[in-house]
């Protein structure tokens, strides 16, 4: 009887320690998860900014202006365009 009681007491103590440990583990993992969430949000913001930058630099009017001013390019008029038939694949 006493031996069983002692056994159960030991099991209980083990369980208690296990509970504390796993709770601690869970919290640590959760902190990590939160950190990753924050990183995801920050990356999302950065993505928005990069998209903005892309649109700004790649603006059609800007590209056209630069192409004309810096490279001396211009859109060919229809007279200089030849349309070729695309052979059926």
């Amino acid at each position: 009887m006493t031996r069983l009681s002692l056994l159960l007491l030991a099991a209980l103590a083990l369980c208690a320690v296990g509970l504390v440990t796993s709770q601690h583990q869970a919290r640590k993992l959760f902190v990590e998860l939160e950190r990753e969430h924050a990183r995801a949000r920050a990356l999302d913001v950065e993505w928005g900014q990069l998209q903005l930058e892309l649109s700004t630099w790649g603006l059609h009017s800007r590209v056209e202006r630069l192409a004309a001013a810096r490279l001396g390019l211009r859109a060919p008029d229809a007279r200089r365009t030849r349309i070729v038939e695309h052979p059926a694949p």
Binding site: V31, D44, S55, L59
Partner: protein
């Protein structure tokens, strides 16, 4: 000596004394137990709240406003978080070195910062609003007491003035004020949420207790707008308005098969990223909110109705000599008397007398019905603020002379968008296309207004109008068959027509064999000498149409040879 034999224990006390002490203890315990039960079971909120406040926090979950994208996914409007620096001036303690560094970071003169902190507001003042987060972090690193930061969103429009009128802009608190931003406010807006968490001593979130309100990210809006065509249209419109020293202008590009608005631009415009010096006239989305008398661009509708009802054939001859027609006390005139003309030539040469005579052979009710069917007199209901209805008076009040003038676009007012949409009946075999601001992937069914045969007849007449001998040879494009109609109207001012102020317009579509795009152009008060729609608006139409067809990769339907222009001085002037 043994304890039991101690003399202190010798005296005998009365029994009631020990009973009394026992009773005191019992009462004491009972009071404590009662208090414990009271706090644990009956009045537990207070202590629970106190306990929770030591570890649990409610944190805000921010939500982004959705982006606005063009049809190809290019970002036209994006919100990004920024920080605002504010201060409680009474709390601010800053040495000269910190002030110098702060001024440097915020790119503000030191005096300006001092002035703000010494201002009338003692408990709150903005030092600088909407600065990049990186700068804000550097400011926070200075650790100046009394200096705080708050997170805000700022909306950026990379396209600037090119897209200004379509997109509109957001005001304070990221709420749409104009254009798409207003029309799709509910769709774009995000709802910030909040949740309850447990934080540890270091401020880390260690456990999620539950969400109080789910955050809802704003949804993206994908427009029908094609940013290539939009920048082309805006650029060419600006060049034309400058060249003709006009007060303003507008252009609308529609996809004939889907009714999508591919481009919509107005002048004067504004830069939505910098709205410091904004005036009302810049803000107005003219193509949608302003109505004007369209002039001759309405002639094809009258002719189409007469053809549809079998009153005339394209080859029916109408006598327009001597170039004027008197109805009651009013006289309708042609700029260049043409003599006997076929119905085709009435459109080609844009004869007022001819179209008036055709109109007088039609019942007013039917004319009104056609105008109403193509959308004149009712706002297109796209959700844009201030969409114009246009003016279409009930036919019961029409006098014969009014019916005649309406046939060539006077006494009736439309917006440029309505006009462009109305022309889809000629571009798509008699069907009126529904307009769409959002991308549509499938061709959509329209409402049939005319028979396909009539629409094709009118299409051929409109093609004649841009060929040599018509009013708009400058609207031609090499490689494509173009069809369209010019309009030149006196401006209405103080209840009468201004003799020297005009509105020049052109509406047309291409390729004529299988129309893909409808473009409507309006130039307000060109004042550099030229004012005919064929001289002012048609070249703009041609440039935008050519570039747009190429951008969309539409195969040419005409031989690649230079466009034929009539010799100088031999242009056909339309009647105004």
């Amino acid at each position: 000596m043994k304890f039991a034999e101690s003399p202190v224990l010798a005296p005998r006390f009365p029994l009631w004394r020990s009973r009394f002490v026992l009773a005191l203890f019992a009462v004491g315990f009972a009071v404590l137990a009662g208090r414990a039960v009271y706090l644990q079971a009956f009045n537990d909120e207070f202590l629970q709240a106190k306990g929770e406040s030591r570890y649990s926090r409610v944190i805000e979950i921010p939500a982004n406003r959705g982006r606005i994208l063009d049809r190809n996914g290019e970002a036209l409007a994006v919100s990004t978080p920024v920080k605002s620096i504010w201060a409680i001036p009474d709390d601010v303690v800053m040495n000269a070195q910190q002030l110098g560094r702060l001024a440097e970071l915020l790119e503000m003169p030191k005096d300006e910062i001092r002035k703000r902190l010494a201002g009338a507001e003692r408990d709150f003042t903005y030092v600088k609003r909407q600065i990049p987060p990186a700068t804000a972090d550097a400011v926070a690193a200075l650790k100046v007491p009394g200096l705080h930061q708050s997170r805000e969103y700022r909306r950026y429009y990379p396209g600037g003035e090119v897209m200004a009128h379509v997109l509109g802009f957001t005001g304070a608190a990221d709420v749409g004020q104009e254009g798409i931003e207003l029309a799709y406010q509910a769709h774009l807006a995000g709802k910030p949420g909040s949740r309850r968490v447990i934080k540890d001593r270091l401020g880390h979130i260690v456990e999620d207790v539950g969400s109080i309100r789910e955050a809802q990210e704003g949804k993206d809006v994908r427009l029908a707008l094609d940013s290539r065509i939009q920048s082309l249209a805006y650029g060419q419109l600006r060049a034309t308005v400058e060249q003709h020293r006009a007060r303003g202008g507008g252009i609308v590009v529609l996809d004939a098969s889907t009714g999508e608005i591919l481009a919509l631009a107005n002048l004067p415009a504004y830069n939505p990223n910098n709205r410091a010096k904004l005036v009302g006239s810049q803000l107005r989305n003219r193509a949608v909110t302003d109505e004007f008398e369209p002039g001759s661009t309405l002639k094809p509708f009258t002719v189409a109705l007469a053809l549809d009802r079998g009153k005339v054939k394209p080859t029916t001859v109408i006598q327009t000599a001597p170039g004027s027609l008197t109805i009651g006390s009013a006289t309708i005139r042609d700029a260049h008397p043409g003599g006997a003309m076929t119905v085709e030539q009435v459109i080609q040469k844009s004869s007022n007398v001819g179209s008036a005579k055709i109109a007088l052979g039609l019942p007013p009710a039917e004319m009104w019905e056609l105008f109403a069917d193509v959308g004149f007199g009712t706002a297109p209901r796209l959700g844009f603020p201030g969409e114009a209805n246009g003016k279409l008076r009930p036919f019961k009040t029409w006098k014969p002379v009014e019916q005649a003038t309406m046939s060539y676009g006077h006494g009736i007012a439309v917006s440029l968008l309505q006009l462009a949409r109305a022309y889809t009946i000629f571009a798509r075999d008699g069907e009126l296309a529904p307009l769409s601001l959002l991308r549509v992937d499938m061709p959509v069914a329209g409402r049939t207004v005319l028979s396909p045969a009539t629409a094709r007849d009118v299409r051929r007449m409109l093609e004649m109008a841009v060929q040599p001998g018509g009013t708009a040879p400058l609207a031609q494009i090499m490689g494509y068959r173009v069809a369209g109609k010019t309009g030149t109207a006196h401006k209405l001012e103080h209840g009468g027509y201004a003799p020297d102020k005009y509105v020049s317009s052109f509406v047309g579509f291409a390729p004529a064999s299988q129309p893909r795009l409808v473009i409507a152009v309006m130039i307000d008060e060109p004042s550099a000498g030229k004012y005919y729609g064929g001289q002012v608006a048609a070249p703009l139409f041609a440039k935008v149409m050519e570039g747009s067809l190429r951008a969309l990769g539409v195969p040419p339907d005409a031989p690649m040879k230079p466009v034929e222009l009539p010799p100088a001085g031999a242009e056909v002037k339309e009647s105004v």
